[in-house]
Amino acid sequence: MFPDPGSLGNKNSSSLMLCSLLSTSELEMKYGTSIDKGLSSARAAEILARDGPNALTPPKATPEIVKFLKQMIGGFSILLWIGAGFSWISFGIHNYKEASRSHQLYLGVVLALVVILTGIFAYYQEAKSTNIMASFSKMIPQVRATVDNSSLTGESEPQSRSCDFTHENPLETRNIAFYSTTCVEGTATGIVINTGDRTIIGRIASLASGVGNEKTPIAIEIEHFVYLVAGVAISIGVLFFIISVSMRYKILDSIIFLIGIIVANVPEGLLATVTVSLSLTAKRMAKKNCLVKNLEAVETLGSTSIICSDKTGTLTQNRMTVAHLWFDNQIYSADTSEDQTTQPFDQSSPTWTALSKIVTLCNRAEFRPGQENLPIMKRVVVGDASETALLKFSEVILGDVMSIRAQNRKVAEIPFNSTNKFQLSIHETDDPQDKRFLLVMKGAPERILERCSTIMINGKEEPLDSEKAEAFQTAYMELGGMGERVLGFCHLYLPENEFPETFQFDTDSMNFPTSNLCFVGLLSMIDPPRSTVPDAVSKCRSAGIKVIMVTGDHPITAKAIAKSVGIISATSETVEDIAKRLNIPVEQVNRREATAAVVNGMELKDMSSEQLDEILRNHTEIVFARTSPQQKLIIVEGCQRQGAVVAVTGDGVNDSPALKKADIGIAMGIAGSDAAKNAADMVLLDDNFASIVTGVEEGRLIFDNLKKTIAYTLTKNIAELCPFLIYIIASIPMPIGTITILFIDLGTDIIPSVALAYEKAESDIMNRRPRNKRRDRLVNQQLAVYSYLQIGIMQSVGAFVTYFTVYAEQGFLPSTLLGVRVNWENNAINDFEDSYGQQWTHYQRMYLQWTGYTAFFVSITIQQVADLIIRKTRRNSIFRQGLFRNKVIWVGIFSQIGIALILTYGLGHVTALNFTPLR
């Protein structure tokens, strides 16, 4: 269904390839345009007419009316429609034959109303929750400058663009820029070679919509449940249809029994309740920064067993931060938390004073004005990532950096470029006595070291001998090994005699020394993990969820972050680690011993799916580094082959196939592209991995609570069904009417069953394994048996005691009721004798029968109150769970009693509803 993502760049992009090979003039020829003038407006209009506007075709949405109709016939609705149909048919026949049987008509109307109303309700709930629509950004034509391709390829570093053809894959070559990418720096002119759906992103978007939407686990569970209940309803219905026909009931009567049995068996209110519970949870999750687009995704998150997480922004803070320093032959570590206000490391050494001055001065980044009241870490900076990190670092330690820079006026500057790999500036000093200029320089450590002849130790310049150079190397390797980006810093006070105050520095000819400088120290930076992530990862771990990191970053960096957040735990080793420890070649290591694995995207490319499966099976801690977003899809598919429910995070457009493919796609709210948000089921508003974990918790809770709701709802079905069965077999007066049943299902029971969604977690639900989607069903045998055969039977017994009591107290002792049905219901018998010799008219008997309905109804309602309290807990004792922790339950109980009172006493005189006031 989905083509091998690796071929994406090659397949059907021959025109792109061709374009990347052609020279500018050839391109002009091919597209009939000119670099300077562009297309003539006539030609432009012609192309527009041919290709349509430069916009992506929105994914094919299901028409609203179809969605609505689906709600109308989905689930139990079809059963109820059948019931309504039968009612009308029987009404029609009756009407033709003997008239005045409007009861059947009412029943049909009520059933149809029930279906339509619950359908509208479910449709409304669904519609409310989906409102993030695609809006793709403007076209950036094919420019030649530095572009940020992150939304397309996931590369976090900006890519330079030039006129050179560098790679045959259009995604790699440097002379093409893409739709939806942004130009971060520089200017360029380009020729538009493709628009709309024919752009790379257009193709990806169409691939994403090609990946089918899988059924969510909860949808499968509910379907299973519907089949189960419908199966029970139909088989009991048909069984009793046959029984009643063979007991010589009229066919029409038997059909009415069939309707009664179906109505009694179908929990009409349940699907609406489930929708409400899910949307309540969705609301709760939105408060915790998980915006759920598809209601059912709420539960999917709870059954997640593998999370494939991005690194940048999700696990990390998405900003470079100074993590370590090396000066005076010693490594210091810096605070990398989100809200640092001071730095705790030792700042007494004069070397630090010198280093801090270089860090402050040799830096072009500046704060945007007007943010003085914001915490330093939150301020917006103009400048690249590393400079921003350094600026904030020095602002935290030294205070007002801008005034320090003002006191040390800058006289000359060479900005960083990729050939020099250093940045240099020359300043006046803030000491008015000292007329020397200070030259400061930072850059790639090895390049900086090359230019130095001395090194500062404890404030004194000492010659840079091989021993000190060795120390430098060790520190550099160590910092680099932690996946950090290392910068070297050096300075030189220019001699006053050679460079007087009036000296004109010329940065082109470099009329100043750039060697024999004094090396001061190293600073290393990293995009540090969010402080909440390690805790969240360990929560996942105890919840049996495997966290896999999938990143485009360098393996070393990826591994370092994975270790620091606990994705790779402290004790586990990769194959390479074991090889290094035992000092043996990698090939000889027993792969089973390694619990962790860091897989490079290049390795992944050559792997067969069996090999990938093996990795996914054998290693508990996996990091995929240097992966392209397309490989993400392969990883997701691999995980799904293991039978896992996979959650995937992503932000780029290229992630959208993987997001679609995943059981639950999670897009980043801040960094995410619209395409990703569109493909995802859930949006993380704060891009924070920890929010996923709260989502998982909520998802598991809702599954538990839905179980309770269903158990609660199913129980009374038996108490509604038994009357019919006994009515048919023992021929007693009808104990409960179909409409009364609907009043229980859709009246008294609705609010309590929603209230169960507010139930708190019983045990620590984050300490158990994710549910196995094949074994741990929403409705399993135990639940059905417990509800139907145990509590349900008890309820029926209770309700029948009430029923017999009502009749006995009015004069019909239980023994006289058996076998009485035909005469009881005979319209022409108006002197029906009771146990005390009194005689009843038909209407008086019916009125008594409705009193019986009402009593049966009240009995079930009250027993449902007790059932509600039983269902509050499944494992804990009711006292441990607390009777009053879930206040909504009490709202439910009072509403239940209130509705019952209104129905019995308020509506006692509406004949159609068959309620009578009770004594």
Partner: protein, 280 residues
């Protein structure tokens, strides 16, 4: 994406057979004999207990009831009217006055119904004071008032064993439903009106269709064993021009403010309508 691979039929059959009886583990329908036994035992005990509980609560409930009168009588505050004979189908009489077979059923029903009103059956009954309620709530044994069959005159069956059916003057007995403790006020009487004018003339026995108050109140089957409810016989003299016509007759109880006869929902409360069609 769980791709359902279609299992070969033979394999799924084998799985079913395995499920029904697994010879290796001795499992029948997924459970061993012991497990099934325990489950059966559990449900036996559980349902046994429930049945006992049901029986016990029913017994307790029945203990609270009196043998003589029902606990509540609020669902029958006003009596319904009924006729005898009651035709099988609906309240419609069809007969041919010259064909005794056509009305034999009505005659037998009337004879059977009036059996209990025979003087020989009423030996224990007393003659009560006419025209007033026969209050006897103090008495341990409630006496029943005598109902003289002769009060029914031509419809008593004594003079005309065919109750007038052979003469085109059929008799229909109207009775009021028994309700324990009901004491009609005023002077209740049955009045019947044909829907169509001039087709039938109506005679009442006793005179004016009166129901004597001495037959009230009723004390219930067990206390008031020989009680006979008062009857009003309605003799319909069908006009010769009205044969083969369907005549609708509605009888109502009048003259008693506490006996309803105009309820919207209950068409039999204090009234009854029936149809007669006679042919020759």
């Amino acid at each position: 994406m769980a791709k359902e691979t279609q299992k070969p039929f033979r394999q799924s059959m084998a799985e079913w057979r395995q499920f029904i009886y697994n010879p290796n583990s001795g499992e029948f329908l997924g459970r061993t004999a012991k497990s099934w036994g325990l489950i059966l035992l559990f449900y036996l005990v559980f349902y046994g207990f429930l049945a006992a509980l049901f029986t016990f609560t029913m017994w307790v409930m029945l203990q609270t009831l009196s043998n003589d009168i029902p606990k509540y009588r609020d669902r029958i505050s006003s009596p319904g009217l009924m006729i005898s004979p009651k035709p099988d189908t609906a309240l419609e009489f069809y007969f041919n006055k010259s064909d005794s077979q056509s009305y034999a059923e009505y005659v037998t029903t009337l004879q059977n119904f009036l059996e209990s009103y025979n003087d020989s059956k009423q030996s224990q009954n007393i003659d009560c004071a006419r025209g007033k309620i026969f209050e006897q709530s103090e008495a341990a044994v409630k006496k029943a008032c005598r109902f003289n069959l002769s009060d029914l005159g031509l419809c008593s069956g004594k003079e005309d064993p065919n109750f007038g059916y052979s003469k085109g003057t059929p008799c229909v007995l109207v009775k009021m439903n028994r309700i324990i403790g009901l004491k009609p006020e005023g002077e209740p009487q049955i009045q019947c009106t044909p829907k169509e004018e001039g087709m039938v003339s109506i005679n009442y026995f006793p005179r004016d269709g009166a129901m004597d108050l001495m037959y009230f109140p009723y004390y219930g089957k067990s206390l008031h064993a020989h009680y006979l409810q008062p009857l009003v016989a309605v003799q319909l003299a069908i006009a010769p021009n009205a044969t083969k016509e369907e005549i609708t007759i509605e009888c109502k109880i009048h003259g008693s403010p506490n006996l309803k006869n105009q309820d919207d929902r209950d068409k039999f409360l204090g009234r009854i309508a029936f149809k007669v069609m006679m042919s020759e």
